[in-house]
């Protein structure tokens, strides 16, 4: 299993810039509806228990990626970079929701994020020409090279 260098995505020192003021968390939609960590606690956990523990927790996937936290942070901490990095790291350790695995497989196999079903008729209903096929071979080749297989088989 390969791991990623988390602190190349997000400067570790930035964790210490956090006031723990929770201005971010006050606007976090995921926390309102689900047992998400929210941004403040994510940062605190990275400091207290270490990111190695954080990326093992499936609750990190509850974040909507709405980026409101980064917008609100008075310290201008690039929180979205941290949240991306943590989940990249989690995915490499097998902590990744099944739905997301399916979505990525579909993308890698078809070059698109949607299942194509009876598309020509539907497009014709709206007066549109058929959708040209995606350049699947080229996309697969690129994704082989970037190492997507480290995370998802396709």
């Amino acid at each position: 299993m390969t791991t990623i260098k988390l602190w190349k995505f997000f400067a570790r020192e930035d964790l210490y810039e956090c006031y723990q003021c929770a201005r971010c968390t006050g606007s976090c939609p995921a926390m309102e509806v689900a047992p998400a960590f929210g941004p403040r606690e994510t940062i605190l956990k990275c400091l207290n228990v270490g990111h190695e523990k954080v990326v093992q927790d499936e609750r990190i996937w509850l974040c909507c990626t709405c980026n409101v936290c980064e917008d609100r942070c008075p310290q201008k901490i690039p929180i979205s970079d941290l949240l991306v990095a943590l989940r990249n790291s989690a995915a490499r350790r097998g902590n990744i929701p099944g739905r997301l695995v399916m979505a990525i497989e579909l993308l890698a196999k078809t070059g698109r994020s949607m299942i194509v079903h009876q598309l020509d008729e539907m497009r014709a209903h709206h007066g549109l020409a058929p959708l040209p096929p995606a350049p699947v071979e080229e996309i697969r080749a690129i994704l082989e090279k970037t190492g997507l297989r480290e995370v998802v088989e396709f």
Binding site: V33, A34, C64, V84, L107, E138
Partner: protein, 297 residues
């Protein structure tokens, strides 16, 4: 005015009506659209979270196609614009990332150079020359209390999406859609937590019920202001509100439904196109009564 049209996945496959409306409206406004063999953007809510390098390389390939055609990219989706704008900026700024990506793309005869810009159709429409043209092309007003939902990724994080507009003291919130809709006689309404997420990524990735709980919150704030219809600029947000009201309705039995439109559908209606031409006939939450009420069949 000419752009490479980046359709993304959801629009041409799930909501071709938005594509039809967009093509018709752009034609009337003198915006020429060129189709290129793009792939998925890929989304900031899936591929980027799972494998950043794959996300960057696929985005770079899409950017290369537009560079090769010598055109700026116009997207129709908050997610696509977020991915392509950020990737474009990252690759323009980081020599090492650009080198890494180009090593892979060169095998397929692409090379990222950093010669184009990425924009969303809302910003294209908001240009002075287009607004003037829109005023001329508008043949009927759509008097409705309309709520705008921009989609988080269209404008956040502002440092990436709208770096020029941002001062240190304030964050950026968009106004373009509200302004455009007032031109076609709509009444854009303020409502609580207007910039709250629609809930879609949470639903898609982890917990559908939790995702819809956010949607429900947002819809309630709109109902509190007697909003009659909702305008969006992202197919994922659209689905969250359109399909979401069906799913939520099974539980809540809520009678007050809010028909949702893609921005260019509303502009098309104002230009005299029919409901079928702009594709509103296939929406789950039907707009018929609302449109009948203002004399549009």
């Amino acid at each position: 005015m000419k752009y490479a049209l980046f359709l993304g996945c959801a629009i041409p496959i799930k909501y071709p009506g938005f594509e039809a409306a967009t093509r018709l409206v752009c034609q009337r406004l003198g915006i020429e659209l060129v189709d290129l063999p793009f792939s998925c953007c890929p989304p900031p809510t899936s591929m980027k979270l799972v494998h950043y390098d794959s996300w960057l390389a696929l985005a770079a390939r899409n950017l290369c196609l537009a560079e090769e055609a010598g055109l700026d990219v116009m997207t129709l989706c908050s997610g696509c614009v977020n991915t392509l704008k950020e990737a474009n900026r990252t690759l323009k700024q980081s020599e090492s990332k650009k080198r890494r990506v180009n090593k892979i793309l060169e095998e397929h005869n692409h090379r990222f150079k950093g010669t184009i810009d990425v924009t969303h159709i809302l910003d294209v429409l908001y240009q002075d020359t287009i607004v003037e043209r829109l005023i001329k092309e508008t043949v009927r007003d759509l008097p409705m209390r309309i709520g705008c939902h921009y989609g988080c990724h269209y404008f956040r994080p502002p440092g990436i999406m709208y770096p020029g507009e941002l001062s240190d003291a304030e964050s950026y919130v968009p106004v373009q859609m509200d302004h455009l809709l007032s031109i076609i006689g709509m009444e854009p309404m303020e409502y609580s937590r207007k910039f709250l997420c629609c809930g879609s990524p949470l639903g898609a990735n982890a917990d559908q019920d939790a995702g819809y709980a956010i949607t429900q919150t947002k819809l309630q704030y709109m109902r509190d202001r007697d909003i009659e219809a909702l305008s969006v600029i992202c197919p994922s947000c659209f689905e969250q509100f359109d399909m979401g009201q069906i799913v939520l309705g099974r539980k809540t039995k809520e009678k007050y439904k809010i028909p949702t439109f893609f921005l260019t559908q509303l502009l098309g209606l104002a230009m005299g196109l029919s409901a079928k031409e702009v594709g509103v006939d296939v929406h789950r939450i039907k707009a018929r009564k609302l449109l009948d009420g203002i004399g549009i069949g």
